[in-house]
Amino acid sequence: MKRIMSRSIFVLIVTLAFFAGICLLAFRLLTQNEAWVQQPYNGHVASSNGLAQAGDITDRNGVVLAHTNEKEERVYHEDEDTRKALLHLVGDNSLNISTAVQSMYRGELTGYSFVWGLGLPKSLRTSDAVNLTINADACKAAYQAFGGKDGACVIYNYKTGEILVDVSTPTYDPQNPPEINEKNEDKYDGVYLDNVMSSSYTPGSIFKIITAAAAIENIPDIYQRSFSCTGEYDIDGQKITCENAHGTIDFTTSFAQSCNVAFAQMAVEVGEEKMEETATSMGFNKEFEVSGIKLSKSVYTLENALGDNQIGWSGIGQFEDLANPMHMAIMCGAIANDGTPVTPYFLDDSNELLKNLGITNAKESEQMLSADTAKKVQDLMRATADYYYNARGITMGNLNFCAKTGTAEVGKDKEPNAWFVGYTEDEKHPYAFAVVVEEGGYGIQAATPVAQAAISALVNSEQ
């Protein structure tokens, strides 16, 4: 009997193992509950019902972008274009757009807590309101300027960090979300991505800003150089081509006229190591975070470059280069701020939500360029705007601006991606911007109207 009893310790061991398992489960529940709850299929949060108690979302001027009415329905801004323009920032009833405020902070908006779960009656839930730094009118103007094309537009105040415009297309109306099926999936390809934050595109000529900075720092007599462009140039037996022959031009003109031949030569002369060093210091291959959203990385690497020809192409934003629109805006902000950017955000620290979560926006940011180089790049971009874009009738109302367009080849059967990046030089309206239009054609034709429309709307409403 005694022996049998002492052997029953085996049952005890099994029981203790079970107990340990329960403790492990409790531990996981305590540490991961927030992540477990925020799933797109979660019936408590993913339907309109889930947002029945959610607080209002407003823009910088107090315009209500999303609101729950007495019938416990979630209603968005009354204007359809505004709704579509803000879809990727505000979100819809689903959790499909993972970077939208209504997805990222669904738990806080719906009043989720570990203690109460999601079972608290609606009248007792406390839910946070969210105030965005966005200007809804400017977003709408940008959206309309896209004219149905896909792409991204971001504008932020490079002195304060407030993001004013964040528009991503394709989009849909959150009030009447489409059923996406096999028939229309082409039209909605990538619709759940905020292209501003979560996409990276081939930069094309806007990359010349980086190559120019590298040249200023590494080629001492760059301003004394002259380049001769016949429309094409041979490196390693393979061609680098320009749209047309630019003739003999100096450094500043080659930037303004976006001469591929000149910049390919500069990249080769600066060399693999220094090109990568400058690009990395200007934020390529780095992960930025904006109000808790990790940006898609911009990429510049010459690891796979087979020779000088490819280094040349990389210097004019082709090869394997990729640029994220938000990062491009940050980079322009850095140039405008004499080398050091202010990190942008769309949720400022006054939001209860961030306080409750203990999140603060990082204000400080690493220096991207020396002040001296930044000033020289400013001059290049200013000259480009003054002598080149103004001449073609591209203005920002009364604001002075510094900018660069890009036309990035993305494939044989496709139109190139159109880029326009830069910043305004104005005490009252210090805006850094980046616009990309997928398969838009020339940057100067397709991308500039979006920035113009958005900035003029901003100036109008921010008097």
């Binding site: 022996r3 085996f10 107990f19 398992g21 489960l25 529940l29 799933q39 408590h44 570990f114 779960g117």
Partner: protein
Amino acid sequence: MGFQAFLDIAVVALRFLLPVYAVVIIYQCFASMRRHRRPEKPLVTLEEKSTGMQIPVLFWENSIGRSKGSDICVDDPTVSRDHCVLLRRQEGWLVSDIGSKGGTYVNKKKARDRTQVLIDDEITVGSTTFTLKRGDEFQDRIRPSWFFSKASNKGSLQPYKLMLLITFFHLFMTVEACFTNEVQNFEPFTVFLCLEALLWSFFFVSTVILKRVNFELEALASFLTGIGVILLVRQEMRSAYIQLIAAGIGMVLFCSLVKFIENPDRVNSWRMAIMIGAIALLAINIVFGTVQYGAANWIKIGPVTVQPSEFVKIAYIFVGAAALDKLQTKRNFLEFIIFSAICVGALALMGDFGTALIFFATFLLIAFMRSGDFKTVLLALVSVVFAGTIVLKFKPYVADRFAAWGHVWEHAQDTAYQQARVLTYTASGGLSGVGVGNGYLKYVGASESDLVFGLLSEEMGVIVSFAIAFSLVALAFYARAITTRSRSTFYSISACCAAGLMIIQSALNIFGATDILPLTGVTLPFISAGGSSIISCWGLLAFIKAADERTYAAKRLKRHKEND
């Protein structure tokens, strides 16, 4: 607004009351189990004739031999290692030789089978002779098991009060179920009334007709069964009633089994019949079984579907356990091993690997308790790992479950669909749950059986679901603690292993659904929906009940009175 707010506050208050209440009930059940116990005293004493040394006899079955592990260890080279067994039955004290070299003698006469020993009789083993004396003559104190350290004859709570507490808990749950977000009606009340009628009839039969002195174990099982039934109300009314009927059958089975195993020797004579019956049941299942959820472990008889493997669990414990003097024979153990192999093999053939795993783990428990041999256990474990690898190779859906294990969020829309939802909704419930009937997990397949832990957590909160998991832990501790006083090794082994089986099954259920183990698809004892499952749980509980010496105490008392 004012009234609505008042109502909402009431609902929240109720939701927070329930978890606290559940903890109180579970605590009360175990507090009662720890009492009601007579003080530790030896039953009789053996006086060694030559030295006059008094040896207390503590158990109803005692092994006598030279080996250190014997209950009565005799330091005499002429005594065999395992010499004989001294056991107590209704007819009095018996001694049974278990194949010793020198033989066992009662009053100098050689004892062959079980031979009666009276007070002042002499038992001779080898060259040592003992005289049987009354237990009162032994004075030293014996320390009781920690579980019963607070032992006293006063129950902490009268059984009927405990039942009232449980009834009110079920009532509150029913009220919640009546007023869900989607539907508001009083249909759940009918189920509640049927449930309480069943539980109170069971209570009445148990305490008044059968005159059982204690009811805590049954109360705990009733509490859990009721929770399972009410959880079903807003899922499918029909299955709630089926669950109720099955629970009724389970209670009848419980009472019959407790009665049946009253005499462990009678059980032994039925052993072969039970084995053959169980094998026949499995054979019928293999031939006529219908496939459901990937395993052919169901038989359809008219409108009723049963899962024979659930009943085989009870038979399995029967065959595995035995009285001490039978336990030592090789034949008994061999039969058990063959029976185990047939059971596990049949279940694997049906594709019910979850139950096969439970049987195998229980086999390890029983085999170790009987033989005490770690090598046997290790060998069996290794062989099963091999078998498992083969299963993974030839059963792609089993392999899929292993692949999804630990990668729930990557497979949330395919192979780990169920586990992902269990985790999400468990966290969504918070501490006190979203209320009975307000959950979303109920729309996921098998949520009322395999995933019931998630359903429980979502609707009643994690306090309740964890309290229930801990109550199963406590049940296993209790089963182990009572074996010190059980009347035969048959009860010790069967109670421990029945509790062990339930723990293993709970582990597979809870951890499978929550991605701590791969999903196996077994039920959570007493809570999960499933007629066969609930019947078998009540059946298994009978073994734990029988192991408590108090279970049969009332009867003896009565008989004594008749004799007077």
